[in-house]
């Protein structure tokens, strides 16, 4: 095992435990920044640092689409363990990244309470609600990575069909230009894996 970081490995559960604890810590804080603000800040820093490391040895990406393809394949593969399954864009600055098996939420369980004798099982929490807190960090990581590569953007995630998660990236230039909209419907497929 080489000391000093490069190529070092640790168990996947280390990161699981840490991110879970991060969410719980900031959920229970009554003072200080909101959960959203704190996790945003933590994730963006990580995204920036990772993007810098992963893209160090490659020529600069100039086109937004090139950056997005790199994000879906290389970056996603490193951080979330597999590439994005489907990337769609409306060619006006909105991108929808679909990961059909989003690794970080793979172990989220919908039934919070064990079944009680003679009682009906409590209604499961809606998937999107359940996942919301745990998606703040991944969204922030993606935003940080894109910003490191020169794309300021807004990232949201939709987990209504867990374990599938759709990430929507809206570039700041598109939002400002008014050309963006939420035009997921008009999106054309540009890359399939």
């Amino acid at each position: 095992m080489p000391p000093g970081g490069k190529g070092r490995e640790c168990s996947e559960s280390c990161l699981d435990f840490l991110t879970l604890q991060l969410v719980q810590h900031y959920r229970s804080q009554l003072q200080g920044p909101s959960q959203q603000a704190a996790l945003d800040a933590v994730g963006e820093r990580v995204g920036r640092q990772l993007a810098e490391r992963y893209s160090r040895d490659r020529p600069p990406l100039t086109e937004a689409l090139e950056v997005m393809k790199w994000l879906c394949k290389e970056f996603w593969g490193e951080v979330f363990r597999k590439g994005v399954d489907n990337l769609r864009t409306n060619h006006r600055g909105t991108f929808v990244l679909r990961d059909t098996q989003f690794r970080w939420l793979a172990r989220l369980s919908q039934n919070q309470m064990p079944a009680q004798m003679g009682q009906p099982l409590p209604a499961p929490i809606p998937k999107n609600e359940l996942a919301a807190d745990y998606l703040i960090l991944p969204c922030a990581i993606v935003r940080g990575a894109l910003s490191q590569l020169g794309l300021e953007c807004n990232v949201t995630a939709d987990a209504t069909s867990l374990p599938q998660v759709d990430f929507t990236v809206v570039l700041a230039s598109a939002a400002a230009g008014g050309g963006g909209g939420a035009g997921g419907g008009a999106a054309g497929a540009v890359a399939r894996r």
Binding site: M1, R8, E9, E12, S13, L18, Q21, L22, V42, Q49
Partner: protein, 171 residues
Amino acid sequence: METISAEIFTLTYGSMVRQLIADYEDVEEVNKQLDKMGFSIGQRLIDEFLAKSKTQRCSDFREAAEKVAKVGFRMFLNTTAAVTNWNAEGTECSLILEDNPLTDFVELPEALSQLKYSNLLCGVIRGALEMVNMDVECTFVRDVLQGDDVYEMRLKLLSSSPETYPFKDDD
């Protein structure tokens, strides 16, 4: 165990510590929070440890400390600790880490010289051992980031209550 590149874990930890420093603006409080967060992690992590390490029940604290150092650190962080400096009663020892993945890429500015950067580890050990009925105290006494040559955690057994039959259900 599934493994990942430790870089992501290390950077996420670093970013979290930075956030805590910004939140609390008090190094002592950050040390405390890291320990507390580690404690919760340890309480959960012990399940995975017991399920995947296939180790036998530890007969005493000495054996438990060895397991933490040799099996636990290897399993989760892919490094090992040495267990030394036992007191005569066998209730206190030191875990020596020469290689600490948490501190890759880390240097502390002078203003944070009192920060126990890796304090989460102490909490994890405390939390995990508590779940197997050992109350321990765990603190960093040497830290490479503070100029020492190794990382040393002092582990002290406060009390242990071996489970007796019939086992009680957890409430």
